[in-house]
């Protein structure tokens, strides 16, 4: 008899059992306050943000626990990887609600995944604090629910800032804007908001839009089309992986708009050689002159050796807000916790934060955005005025003027 298959099966079962033992032991400490976490930790375009968010959460937990925890107990994160996949996210979120019975779930990144998950779990009415998901489709689904709390600005906050900046801060006001947008929910919704809101405020510019597939290895075609249109501003709504390719292709094709403008331009390995003078809208900046932001950046840098991306302070702040909410509630009772969260007010790396009513959302944290520009390898904050550290360079030098 060939024993090999049987031995293999037994070996696999022993390994799986060992892993379960280790992890179940970790997750079910009886003397802790357990917070459910759902993040994309291992998927193509989303894992970077998910892991950065998790780093911020871990920093917050370390700080809270070293100061005695909440309700006299340490905080414990029950972490689930949604892999950026809606079905996985629904499964792990349902598991956190029904099996793990955590009092609150914090996390979620993409609009598509969050929409599908909220739709599936709303029957349980769990308390969720969503970090990402800027699409208003999510807002219209659950924004008015008392159990729904939201960190990231919505589409209209972002596009409102962009339009306000283009309209009132760029001299002369741009007359032609080419928008290259990724063809998913995030890019398409952002584009339609930009077009509609521009129309509503009577903005003077013509807009030409072109979708692209995020993660492509060449964007020369869209660059040539934009070059043919000859815009004042070339506005790209994509993900960090797309931007270096866009900048390189713009240079290779000698495309010289007066300004290249992107979403979330401050990521750790920003390509400074080709990305100088690029401006963009961001929800946070490590260069903010806020004491808590400076402290957070210093701690993050000493731990990880680089500047944080905005997901780290977002998620750090979220755990701190949840901890304060639990303290205010005095228990993990659902209604008490919702009321506790509603009364949270604190200073944070994002500035003073609380849950405010905005648009169609009962509990929104961030509604203010920043406009920044890379100048000489560093970031200059241009907007809003109270955080301004420099002036916009516009029009930017051509590639030839920069040395070819």
């Amino acid at each position: 008899m060939d024993w090999k298959p049987l031995v293999a099966v037994v070996a696999i079962l022993v390994i799986l059992g060992g892993i379960y033992y280790i992890y179940s032991g970790r997750e079910k400490g009886p003397e802790s306050v357990r917070i459910g976490i759902v993040l994309p930790l291992s998927t193509a375009s989303f894992a970077s943000a998910g892991q950065e968010c998790y780093r911020g959460m871990q920093m917050a937990v370390e700080e809270i626990n070293s100061n005695g925890g909440v309700l006299g107990k340490p905080i414990e994160l029950v972490v689930k990887d949604d892999k950026g996949d809606p079905n996985t996210a629904i499964t792990v979120a349902t598991d956190l609600i029904t099996n793990e019975q955590v009092p609150i779930i914090v996390g979620f990144y993409s609009s598509t995944v969050t929409y599908a998950t909220m739709n599936a779990i709303k029957q349980y009415q769990p308390i969720v604090f969503v970090m990402g998901a800027s699409s208003v489709k999510v807002e219209s689904l659950v924004g008015k629910e008392r159990w729904f709390f939201h960190m990231h600005p919505w589409d209209y906050h972002r596009q409102g800032t962009v339009i306000d900046y283009f309209l009132h801060y760029i001299e002369p006001t741009p007359q032609k804007i080419f928008v290259a947008y990724e063809d998913g929910v995030y890019g398409s919704t952002s584009y339609s908001y930009f077009v509609n809101m521009s129309r509503e405020v009577g903005a003077p510019w013509d807009i030409k839009g072109e979708p692209f597939k995020s993660g492509s290895s060449d964007f020369s075609a869209i660059i040539l089309k934009a070059k043919d249109y000859d815009p004042d501003v070339f506005y790209i709504v994509g993900y960090p992986a797309d931007y270096p390719v866009f900048f390189r292709n713009a240079k290779e094709n000698d495309f010289n708009p007066k300004l290249i403008f992107i979403v979330a331009p401050e990521f750790p390995e920003y390509p400074k050689d080709i990305g100088d003078y690029v401006a963009g809208v961001d929800v946070w900046s490590p260069y903010l002159d806020i004491p808590q932001a400076k402290d957070f950046v210093a701690k993050f840098q000493s731990q990880y050796g680089r500047l944080p991306e905005y997901w780290a302070p977002f998620c750090y702040t979220a755990i701190k807000m949840v901890a304060q909410g639990i303290e205010k509630a005095g228990s993990l009772d659902r209604e008490a916790l919702i009321s506790g969260l509603e009364s949270v007010q604190m200073d944070s790396p994002l500035g003073p934060v609380s849950f405010k009513q905005t648009g169609n959302t009962l509990h929104q944290v961030v509604d203010k955005l920043y406009v920044v520009q890379w100048q000489g390898g560093t970031v200059v904050i241009l907007y809003p005025d109270e955080f301004k550290t420099g002036e916009l360079i516009y029009p930017v030098p051509t590639w030839a003027e920069r040395g070819g």
Binding site: L41, S42, T43, A44, S45, A47, S48, G50, Q51, A180, D183, E210, P211, F212, K213, G215, S216, S217, D218, F219, S220, A221, I222, L224, K225, K227, D228, P240, A241, P244, V245, R248, N249, K251, E252, N253, D254, F267, P268, E269, Y270, P271, K272, D273, I274, W399, G404
Partner: protein, 289 residues
């Protein structure tokens, strides 16, 4: 669109085709000789990109100068992959081989994620960002370097196949392993050599990815798809077909993207439409091996 931009679009398409050819070469070689469809090929390219990154960051090696080292490193990886994974499944049904290479792909991605994290990384190499103008056409050094390296390795590989003794042996095994074995060719060694070479060529493509794109555990996913498009269109195992298909895809993507409304979103779809059309008319691809 004016004529200058049209010429620029064609030039971009040709440069892109060179890159596609090198991305595909290893995959095509492996299928041509071992008849294994390797879904982990893009992940070997990803490993080449990381090898370039770390050689640059830790030892200050210029990416172009790192090509021989990356070639050798990935040759070793390919050899290990052959001994551990490919050799045991050489005679297995095709669907088992595909399942294995899918698994290998996920394994390599997870390994990269654990080892180097999910941070997006870029290499700042000043000369790569320079450009040169030839008439109405502007060409980036990065793309030109990529095209030149791709052309050199592709032609070098063809010369190796055609004129070296080992190349003869590879071709013989590719055509009929049993007959080659009877003529004294050590088929197992040729398989090992080809696996190493396929990964090494992927590694060189990884150097080009590192200097022209970005470095991330999942950067190979799109490249695997692209390589499969080229191989299927050109005909599995055909090198002439591979070159023609690379040109067809590179130029068509560039022109469709630049000429048609919403063309940048359409371009990948058009590439696949060409594949479907060609396969409907000529199921074995443009060129039969």
């Amino acid at each position: 669109m004016n004529v200058d931009l049209l010429v620029q679009a064609v030039a971009n398409g040709v440069l892109l085709a060179g890159f596609y050819a090198l991305v595909t070469l290893g995959l095509n070689l492996l299928f041509g000789v071992l008849e294994i469809t390797n879904f982990a090929h893009g992940d070997l390219i990803m490993m080449g990109a990381y090898a370039t990154l770390w050689l640059n960051r830790l030892a200050g090696v210029d990416p172009i100068a790192s090509i021989p080292m990356v070639f050798l490193i990935l040759f070793g990886v390919g050899l290990a992959v052959y001994l551990l994974f490919f050799k045991p499944i050489l005679k297995a049904p095709a669907h088992n081989q595909i399942a294995l290479t899918f698994g290998l792909s996920v394994f390599l991605q997870s390994l990269a994620l654990i080892a180097w994290g999910s941070d997006l990384r870029t290499l700042d190499i000043p000369y790569v960002s320079k450009t040169v103008s030839i008439g109405p056409v502007t060409l980036g050094y990065g793309r030109l370097i990529a095209f030149s390296i791709a052309a050199a390795f592709t032609l070098g590989f063809f010369a190796f196949l055609k004129w070296s003794k080992l190349g003869y042996a590879v071709r013989a095994v590719s055509q009929d392993p049993e007959a080659a074995s009877l003529l004294g060719v050590n088929v197992n060694r040729i398989y090992a050599l080809v696996s190493g070479l396929a990964a090494a060529l992927g590694g060189v493509a990884g150097v080009l990815v590192a200097i022209n794109l970005y470095i991330h555990p999942y950067v190979g996913v799109e490249l695997t798809l692209k390589a499969f498009s080229v191989v299927i269109l050109g005909g599995m195992g055909s090198y002439v077909g591979m070159l023609v298909a690379s040109l067809v895809l590179g130029i068509s993507e560039s022109l469709v993207g630049a000429l048609f409304p919403q063309g940048s979103g359409l371009a990948p779809g058009v590439a696949f439409a060409i594949i479907v059309l060609v396969l409907a008319l000529k199921p074995e691809g443009l060129f039969r091996r």
